[in-house]
Symmetry: C2
Subunit: 427 residues, 2 copies
């Protein structure tokens, strides 16, 4: 791999990365991945694709994106499920996630942001300030949004370091909010047409809707397999699949995930699982988990539980809903996109009964033994909504463990103890 590595170093240098720091980062991610993933038994063979993806996470995929740019395409960075990937793709862009799953350059970040800022926000700022995220460095434009106070205000500072465009997500879901949001979709199209130099048409958008829906359908298949007992795939592996969905080439990714789904369906027919049939079935809900944030899943599965579903932005909020494919005009397609995206139930909305309903419905469908409500510390929307989730789940007879944490490993001992006690209790 030495030749390839040399190639990448030049590419990373061209992107302005801090090479020394970046080496450290890649080393740490590799080590974390090895510890959390490679020790798993009986993994689906198809997961080797994701092993490869992670091993090349800042290598081959970045090379592909740079080639895409060299051919005139654009790279659009974002990490929010409300940013319509279909439009980016229809205009010849590639959507990529921002690095946001690990502590990085917090000393620098805390010069400009309060220490009491959620880990996700400190992380994406830190990866930028520390110059170790090739995705953000390669991006022609970053799309931010107004989903929470922290991101909304942090993007103002981020925008001084990188071209950034902010979409305003409304805070309610009434007809007037849809009017605002529909206008926001039009403004997003105009901005991306300007940046890409392409024109959105019914043809290119229709194709992109189909391709992105196919990606989400593949994830729906993979996740549907987790209803089975024994469960044919670990929660960690299923989480990784959604995390990579934010970065990867769409058709290739869809093909690979469908292959895994085939394999999982065969496993179910054989009654083959990755955990005993009596392992406690846990669903996770709350704040998003970006690569390499596998802490909660790893803790649950190390303790003998099995995660069977994620009501997360890196989970069902990403794949559960599709854009209607029946429209045949551009306006109609954009209406359908606006509708699908506003229909996602993030805790940033008020009121937000849809998320509570989603959580309870998923928990029942997946026959869970317990729910772990995971929130990043200082993430007001999820830490506050946790109360309502817990209340509804308790009324439905489902035990809940609330975990408010961050990206550090300092609380891992306490977290393990709490998770072990919870698994013991629910079984």
């Amino acid at each position: 791999m030495s030749d390839t590595a040399t190639d990448y170093r030049q590419m990373w240098a061209d992107l302005g990365l801090n090479l020394e720091a970046h080496d450290m980062l890649l080393g740490a991610v590799g080590q974390m991945y090895g510890a959390a993933y490679m020790s798993q038994k009986d993994r689906p063979e198809g997961m080797s694709y994701f092993d490869f993806v992670i091993s090349e996470i800042h290598g081959l995929r970045i090379k592909e994106l740079r080639d895409h740019q060299a051919a005139g395409g654009k790279i659009i960075g974002t990490f929010c499920v409300y940013v319509p990937e279909e439009i980016i793709r229809a205009l010849g862009g590639q959507a990529v996630g921002l690095c946001a799953g690990a502590e990085w350059a917090y000393d620098e970040v805390e010069q400009i942001l309060p220490r009491n800022t959620c880990a996700l926000i400190k992380s994406f700022m830190g990866f930028k300030m520390g110059q170790v995220c090739p995705y953000v460095e390669a991006a022609d434009l970053v799309i931010g949004e107004t989903t929470c106070d922290g991101k909304k205000k942090a993007y103002e500072l981020f925008g001084e370091m990188k071209p950034t465009y902010i979409m305003e997500l409304p805070q309610m879901k009434r007809p007037d909010d849809m009017v605002l949001w529909r206008g926001e979709i039009d403004r997003f199209v105009a901005k991306l047409e300007e940046v890409t130099g392409h024109k959105l048409t019914a043809e290119n958008l229709s194709l992109a809707i189909k391709e992105v829906n196919d990606k989400r359908r593949a994830l729906q298949r993979l996740n549907a397999a987790r209803k089975a007992s024994p469960v044919p795939i670990s929660g960690k592996d299923a989480l990784l699949a959604v995390q990579v969905a934010f970065y990867d080439d769409v058709p290739r990714y869809t093909e690979m995930v469908n292959k895994i789904a085939d394999e999982l369906e065969a496993r179910i027919a054989e009654g083959k699982g990755v955990a005993p049939a009596d392992a406690p079935r846990i669903m996770v809900t709350g704040s998003p988990m970006s690569i390499p944030n596998w802490k909660v899943h790893d803790t649950i599965e190390t303790a003998g539980g099995i995660v069977v579903g994620e009501e997360l932005c890196t989970g069902s909020r990403y794949y559960a809903k599709l854009v209607d494919e029946s429209a045949d005009t551009l306006e109609g397609m954009l209406d359908d996109i606006a509708e699908k995206y506003l229909d996602i139930n993030c805790a940033c909305f008020t009121p937000n009964p849809g998320r509570i309903e989603d959580v309870i419905a998923m928990a029942k469908d997946l026959k869970v033994d317990g729910i772990l409500h995971y929130a990043l510390q200082f993430c007001a929307p999820y830490t506050i909504e946790a109360y309502s989730v817990e209340k509804a789940a308790t009324e439905a007879g489902i035990p809940v463990l609330r975990v408010d944490t961050d990206y550090s490993m300092e609380d891992i001992g306490q977290l393990s103890t709490r998770v072990e006690a919870f698994l013991e209790m629910v079984k």
Copy 2:
């Protein structure tokens, strides 16, 4: 006062207050007020009105509000400067603030809200859960808003304890946001018409606009006097005047504030001040300060500084802008109301250059020696925007002290030390 006190106890009991806890609260507020206010030298005589108001804060004023209700009027609780008081007043309602300036019943609050929630939010929830705020108990309806994540989500839980209506404030100030906000004003009118049983007309609204503008004009006069050197009124007293504006009878309040302004103008003519002409002139900007939150002002003025202005919701954001009075149709008046309110520069907006401009313009106009940026801990909008305020002020040559704090007195020693060092430095 024993007869009156007895009357009030029955009223408080009728309101469902926890009488024992409420006695403790009133005792504590009285003590805090005595310590912070009554020791001041050379106060304007007109401030005796506010001494009376505070001594009767849960007594006479509540009695007036109960009488208003007995006569068929409604009480509308809110503590956000974006809720249009003119409309409440035109419909025969009285707007009152929610108690939110002291630590109360945090143990109960932290059962439902994260500990990492800003003091203002924990406080208004605590006053409700501890049943010690006659304003909230007397209110027929509470108006919440979506200005920040914490309030937005906390109001969902508050709404389970008290009839609550939420206004959606947009997060940007573009034409489409004004469309949403203008619709929000219409929905607010419809809701209040339903609650009050009255109909909004050009006549009653025009009168209410005039009366509320008069109140704000009186505060503008009072605050304009603070430009003088020596300063004719303490920052604490000026802050109190704005704090009471949220609760008091409008015409009486306006008259009393104008009397104080007369007195201040006479003092200026005489060259009379409450602090030496060379006392460091400090402006405060940031999160709101509700009664009895006088901590920062008290610390500055105890240390020998003088607060000459507040760019706060309990400050210039409350009084600096007026509703245009020239419209002669109901629709035109509502347009003007929508415009005036959306023009306020809270840190909840993105981007929010208007606040930075306001801070710098005020600081120059008031010839301040330094700015104290005050933010409640865990208030993401203000703690993050503090960076941009500090940057702009530093570029304008104005020193800034950043204080992130809460309602406890635990940090008072450290705060005093920092403030003393800052005053020493700026002078």
